[in-house]
Amino acid sequence: MNATTQTSVPARRPKRTLLTPARIGIYAFLLSVSAFFLLPLYVMVVTSLKTAPEVRQAMLFAWPANPQFSNWAEAWSSACIALQCNGIQGGFWNSVRIVIPATALSVFLGALNGYALSFWRSKWGDILFGIMMLGAFVPFQVMIYPLVAWFRLGGFYNTYWSILIVHCIFGMPLMTLLFRNYYVAVPQELFKAARIDGGGFWRIFLQLMLPMATPMLIVATILQLTGIWNDYLFGLIFAGQDNYPMTVQLNNLVGSTFGERRYHIDMAATILTSIVPLAVYFFSGRWFVRGIAAGAVKG
């Protein structure tokens, strides 16, 4: 032991005060912002659970006396769109049929583009990339008519394939940008090592670069999944009546009712339509924010 044993009191860790004025201010701000964004959702949910007379009372925020989950079932399977009374379930499955292949294809093509642009430096690569980025900033409404004309010329306008192709085309700039920025940060030496090991274009992509980009694959999938699911305009214009996605069916349901407006059913259908993106946001928020940041900051 030391000869000079001075019993010095160790400095206390400063007590953490939980509620400073600044903190109260922050929480007040956060609460009001959340309320602003959550109230519409709340109104949607409560309205969808009300009976028709309750809706007519026009008490927007009131909790339903007796929640009617049967409204949801009706919206799903028996509400009438024009003359067909099958609910919007058909639209749901159409959306699934469009979203899954379109997401997979556009993410894959974006990764492929990003990989090719970052590693196989071709003479025109940078120019092509510039043109593609330009495409991302031209309002897509401008391109709709030429596309319709081309598709009609090609004979597959208003088919399942035309909606797939449209989603791939319009997803391409963002997907390419995301993956290019991801791959640019990968050292060239890794690519060179794989070249020496005999890897060709596809093998290096499929066995090395694609597995390496798992975080970006997740982000890109989330972006495309929600983006394509929420699309209305392309679905309406290109999909054709048999393939109308859920968003289009929802609009038809809301717009085509005769007589009294059945707001509770409309709201139930809206909730069913938005449940997929809501679930995606809810379960993958962390990745989603990362993807937004990757696209916004680096690009």
């Binding site: 890794l190 070249r195 020496i196 090991d197 005999g198």
Partner: protein, 372 residues
Amino acid sequence: MPTPQPTQRISTMANVQIKDLDIVLGGVSILKSMNLDIQDGEFLVLLGPSGCGKSTLLHSIAGFNDVTDGSILIGEKDVTWADPKDRDIGMVFQSYALYPTMNVERNMSFGLRVAGVPKAEIEKRVNRAADMLHLKELLNRRPSQLSGGQRQRVAIGRALVRDAKVFLFDEPLSNLDAKLRAELRRELKQLHKDIRTTMIYVTHDQVEAMTLASRIAVMLGGKIQQIDTPATIYSRPANMFVAGFLGSPSMNFVEGSLHSEGGSIRFQSVALNVDLSGYPFQQAPANGQRCVLGVRPESIKLCGASASTQGKATVSLIEPMGPSQIVWLDAQGTSLSVQLEAQATPALDSTVGLQIDPAELSLFDGTTQNRL
């Protein structure tokens, strides 16, 4: 694609020939009519400061740069336009460049799997390389679970299993800390002693160059300044750049002039006056020629101030290094460093005499800076 013939390729060696090579990258000429002959089984080190073109030369041999003019031959085969995979090379990078999603075993076997080598043969070769590099216990680890030294050993292993004719190293030890660097340097030397494959090694570290090389090529500005054994490069540098680049502390330079005096030639300057009988002149110098005398710190001996006929200096600073010490002298305004054994420490500010053996010094032309 050539079919792999693993059993024949083991321990095949190859020389590398660079003929009139021009490399232009992005409009900038990096290498200009470079000629280089690398022997079978040689360990050639390309040494130089950053930007001297040494990495460009290595990457051109590997096939990553488009050749503007000239040709590259590996084992008498012209590979100027061959794909990197068809050049029978293995390469180790500074950043290790391991495949992050594969474990050690799959990292090492990737090239063999691509080439369609049978499974049993892959296993045999991976195990052999793992044995050589002490990687046996790490075969199932991911690169992220390895230390820097282990990663670089895996990268070396990945080059080894390919049974390449030529191994290329691009500053492989630069990312490691000093202790690991020395350790891996020794392992590399041992490896070369064991497998005797041609190796080309790029570095800016003179210690790596001196310890590993059979021959060193010192480069500056896209040109080879001197190519020779480490001993010759060190003791008989071809010009002042080479002389100054190798050695720590670096060679002392003293400006002066040469004078003939009754058959013998003397170097004269304010600080030093040295009789040069015994210096191997490449050609007879002109009387009164301006020149620079270069002398390594360990080639200067100290004696009593009155005993020296060559020059005197005062001791200005002493740096003890453990087994030796660096003594900094002030010789009439010229700073000189002298390496001495640790025991004989001169007193600070004392005046000492200088003794230099003319056979151990170098003389350079005052204007061309080339060796006289």
